[in-house]
Symmetry: D2
Subunit: 426 residues, 4 copies
């Protein structure tokens, strides 16, 4: 890969890094991608609402939040077409490059940031080199800035290659909240994809290592539970209300006691809680924010089903109601072994790769599994690839950064694999 | 009171003490009372089934237990008529003495013992003087032996007095389990009672003290809850059953958290638990034994209602069922103040009484309240009287004993009050 | 009372109503009181720090909050002397009027508002007549605006009366949070007070009714508990942290299960909870906001002691720490019966009083009990008086308002009682 | 294998089946084994105390229980030497056969029964054919009767073979309670064993199938927890005691909430509970019976350590104490792959074997792992072999039975493997 290409990849990644946008609010990011695709020259781009099955979106923020980010994007000069296409929580896009006879091959990358204050300490490269987040309270702490840049790099590389077939690049929004995979899978754009790649940088693997086939992503479901009681004065009329605090505590205590399952690993957690008004008032409303996971989709569903029964009954224990909101979910789909083997073979020939792990567990949840399942269900093959990249601190920390050398490795690996698939139809 | 009468009271009380029988099993006790009533000569005696509204009985033990005590009584020589009348858990009797024109006045005494091993240590008078319990594992540890003797003493004293009217003495079974008051109240025998007395010895008051009017007995309900789950191997198939252990723990935790009530005092307790089969098996069935109380009947019912909702929902939290059995209950009824004042007046003239407390809280539960309510509901008056009596240790301990001097005080006080009521119809 | 006086009372009360300030932030209120006392002409005024034992203050807000209200007061034109005297959370004042030989008699009134948005609906008189709160988010919803006005009215009335002795009026801050009573009690100003009155409007009694002697205020303690765990990824490393969510739930469940006490009524409540960061992270820190109460100070302390042990052990159950902060407390002190009887006598002669209740339970907590105890401990007498006053909705609601006719009743009743005490030294 | 041998194996197995004895009480069983070993003629037998490191025994029953089974055995005619050697809970034996130069090879079999009433329904072969349990309430429901018979069969077969070396057969007591493996491992008899086999029939595999190498037994620990509070009358003095019922419930609730572990599977269960005295008494003492398991020994120890901290703190939540008794435990040790491969090879040549599974998870806990670890620690090899055998219903059910054809398969497989090992020293 030429020095110029590497430089351009870094530059665009840093641009994304400076302008992080949270899930379903990636308007400037989408606009910048569309602009770059136009520079590269692709055959078609479906933007926002055209790239998504709107009803399948999950974890969409409030209208106020969407409006706020829309206004920011407008103020930043995003043009009206993109503003219109991405309105009301419809971000992301699908780029299509048609290069003659051959299979339809896809690549999915993600693009959203998280709510976190980025470090401004010396030694944190984005701070030192001037591309730290310019949007207070938000940060690319999981490398999706790099993933979006890689997507653009692969489009450009495939276009310049001798690939024969159709290439589609899915710039998926809202991965962090497991909200964008399902609507993109159901958009119609994946229906004809015969081979699909997905990619993640880092994940604990150093620069130079490639995991050709990531397996066993955890199925996950995110939900909130709002316990609704009735207030009363705790001193004068302690039995006059119904106590959402006790209902919540009963829910939490028993949720963690969901029976482990003989078929494999499960998880349950409540990570946030808030509610009530004052120390001397029986709490009227308390909301828990939690999730369940499972080694398989069935195990996740077992745990969610148990959890929901527990929460409803815990409310009943204290005469309260509970409103459970299913925010989002992702399923378990493993990489196709044949496509994984192909990636491993290709990886061994990529400049900068010094170690190839044929297969390893992902150990996390991912909503690209909806796209992978869509492909597998139609007889296709999908592989999830980890491109190692040193990171100074863990993902989702204020001093996270990616080793930009991994961008070039990823672009070369993925574009080579795409060309290979086009030629060999494994 | 003559020395002879005092001696006879002690002798019969010690006979009862040697032969304790638990609730609904007081067959020998009933037979001995009937025998003594025959010696005294009363006009009518309704025994067992004839003295009770059978369907209103509560806390009746198993058929096996009833049969066992029936067999003991038969072996002890109880005659066939009493055996037949008391069969299947129908103990106690009502004695009637008709003495001309005048009101119908009643006295209720109780007669059952508790499950406790009586002390055989030196210094425990029943052991020292040879009238310790001869029935292993049972004991008169609450003075009901003395109460039954007092009942007989009052019958004899009233018969010998110038009382004008009808006198009924209610020898009530199953007070310890709050099971006998209701069926005796509903038996018909109380319907014409215009004045009713009830009496308890001791309760922390010394010999010579009389509480003329005990008030505020706690309303109480006794219940059991059996959680029913499904067993499974805890190692191989931890989610294969439904866990009665977790359901029980959820029930207990939340039961004690029932909201205190602004209207007054409530209580809740689970005092026994048992169930499950082995450490490596998900528990299939666990039973809790508990009670609720309230300063008023309504507060007891509030607490029971909350408890029952909690237990049903706690079972549901863990996918189990729960069977709640209402074992027995008692209500709150306070002494009538007019009749209480009469008792106080009479008490001041009784030999051996050196202190009269006009009114004091009972601080316990009592099922004579069903009889008292029956009288009050028909326009009558009822009073609960405490006759002080030193007791070396607390009620319901293995070294409990009554000061027999209090028997004579009680007989004189109650018979005098009855005569007074007959004359004055307050 | 003259029409002019009534009008002035209403006017100053409405001024206070328009400028509500929360506990320990009553700077404008203090300044307005000082200004009015100057108009009336009193012998001495101790302001802020001079009126309080600083170290005994409880529930003082953060420095930021104090600074914010200081700045508001400065902007509103409060003069520098009062700003200096009230700095850093030292509000309120004590006014002294010396009128010759005789006892020292005190009156305590309070002055703080609460955090609540006042109604702007038609029908709410403060809105209709233009004296609704001008400070967004704060409101006099408990009548302390009227209490402060009554204090000024009584100072003026006593000064104009034939009272002989020394009169002190305690304008106490921070009653709503039970924070100001203790430091005023310990300030030295109460040491020589032989008779003390306290007063509350409304509390469910209609205009024209007076409760001469309120008794049985609940002892109360307010506390917060912050559970401190360690975060970890709930999917990848569920055992890697320590779970503040589970610790909190264990604390809540068991707190409500604190054993009821045989000596009397107790209360426990957690009314607010907040903490944790995200659904997929083991919660690191969660704070509960709660209180305990008791029919007596000892019962409150029993409950607090149980609660604290439970919270520490609940943290330990989950390997967490907990930091418990005792925010504030109040004790139980009943009105002196002799002084109460005097108030009842006086009340029967007051214009506008049509019903006098000699004694009734307060049914709430009050930190004037610290001043009352200080007086009682030195052989003096203190009485808590309720002056009935219609209120359209309950205290602490957005449409609360006082019937201003009750201001005149209160001023006449209290000043007459003070004069009477001066003359008769009961 | 000759028809006569098969017949003898069945006969001796049926004898064991008729006389089931629970863990540490296998006195008649040991005596019968010793008698049979004498018939076969072995070089040495270490019985009971001589076969065990006494201090390492776990889960030994009470002296009363031991004495009761000792008396039964004496009554059944067990001779005095065996009675003396097995006294006080020292059952089992080790038989040694010396056959010249060669390695020391061991086989471990178990011999205890469980507490269960055996079916007497038609269709249950032991009932139909007259070898149903003659000891009421106990039953060989896990096939250890067959295992002991197999042990004897292998001793006889090895003695008759051309095996060269030393063969030791370990008749281990108390496997059901995980109590006998550790003391036999530490007895010294295993110190020179270079190759060790263990064997189990059935486990869901049909007759004709052999699992050559069972892996991943769960590490397990069994414990009891006795919560000790103080009794008080729940109505009169609800705060007078300390409540073991609430402490127990807090322990149970939080035990099931022990965090799942990222390194693998864990289990926790309380399967039995009992305690308290009466519904109206604060519970004084309650005992839980439970266990933890882990995919590895470290995971079991993590879970046990968490559980113990939770139980101690749960007691503290309610001011109680808790006494935790570690009853027994087993560790995880996997079969040696080399020895497993040898078994697979041999199995393919055994008459009656139609399917060989090279390796499969055991899915249960086993205390032979202590012996296996002892061998592995000294550089030896150990393999756990499952010999399939149809069983009409699950292990540990009243209608369990073994297919006796599997006895011959097991004897031939194990003796062939032992001969092979002697020859080849893998």
């Amino acid at each position: 890969m030429s020095h110029d290409v590497r430089t351009r990849l870094s530059a665009i990644r840093r641009e994304f890094h400076r302008h992080p946008e949270p899930s379903w609010c990636e308007i400037q990011t989408t606009a910048r991608i569309v602009e770059e695709l136009s520079r590269i020259g692709v055959d078609r781009v479906a933007i926002g609402r055209d790239a998504l099955a709107s009803d399948h979106r999950m974890a969409v923020p409030s209208e106020e939040t969407l409006a706020e980010w829309h206004d920011r994007a407008a103020a930043a000069g995003v043009d009206d077409d993109v503003l219109a296409a991405t309105a009301d929580g419809h971000t992301g896009c699908v780029a299509v490059v048609e290069l003659g006879e051959g299979p339809t091959v896809g690549l999915r990358v993600d693009m959203d940031a998280v709510s976190m204050v980025e470090s401004d300490e010396p030694g944190h490269r984005p701070a030192d080199e001037g591309f730290r987040s310019e949007t207070a309270g938000y940060m690319h702490a999981c490398g999706h800035d790099a993933h979006a840049a890689i997507g653009l790099g692969v489009v450009e590389a495939v276009k310049a290659s001798d690939f024969s077939g159709t290439f589609k690049c899915f710039f998926q929004p809202a991965e962090e909240v497991a909200g964008g995979g399902k609507p993109m899978a159901e958009s119609g754009h994946v229906d004809d994809v015969e081979y699909l790649f997905a990619c993640h940088l880092g994940l604990g693997y150093p620069t130079g290592t490639v995991v050709a086939s990531a397996t066993e992503p955890l199925a996950m479901a995110h939900l909130t539970a709002t316990f609704e009681g009735a207030a009363a004065h705790a001193g004068k009329d302690p039995s006059g209300g119904t106590n959402a605090m006790q209902a919540m505590a009963t829910g939490v205590q028993n949720a963690y006691g969901i029976a482990r399952h003989g078929d494999g690993m499960t998880r349950v957690n409540f990570g946030r809680v808030a509610g009530g008004s004052a120390s001397n008032v029986i709490a009227e409303e308390i909301t828990l924010d939690g999730e369940v996971r499972g080694e398989t989709t069935a195990l996740m569903e077992y745990t969610r089903s148990e959890l929901e029964r527990i929460l409803y009954a815990a409310a009943e224990v204290h005469g309260c109601d509970v409103v459970i909101r299913r925010i989002s979910e992702s399923i378990r789909v493993d990489s196709d072994p044949v496509l994984g083997a192909l990636v491993a073979d290709v990886a061994r020939g990529v400049d900068g790769v010094d170690s190839v792990v044929p297969e390893a567990p992902l150990g996390a949840s991912e909503d690209v599994t909806f796209l992978m399942k869509h492909v597998h269900d139609r007889g296709g093959r999908a592989a999830y690839v980890i491109v190692g990249g040193d990171h100074p601190t863990s993902h989702q920390t204020p001093t996270f950064d990616v080793d930009e050398r991994s961008l070039g490795v990823a672009v070369e690996l993925l574009s080579s694999a795409i060309v290979n698939v086009g030629a060999n139809r494994p």
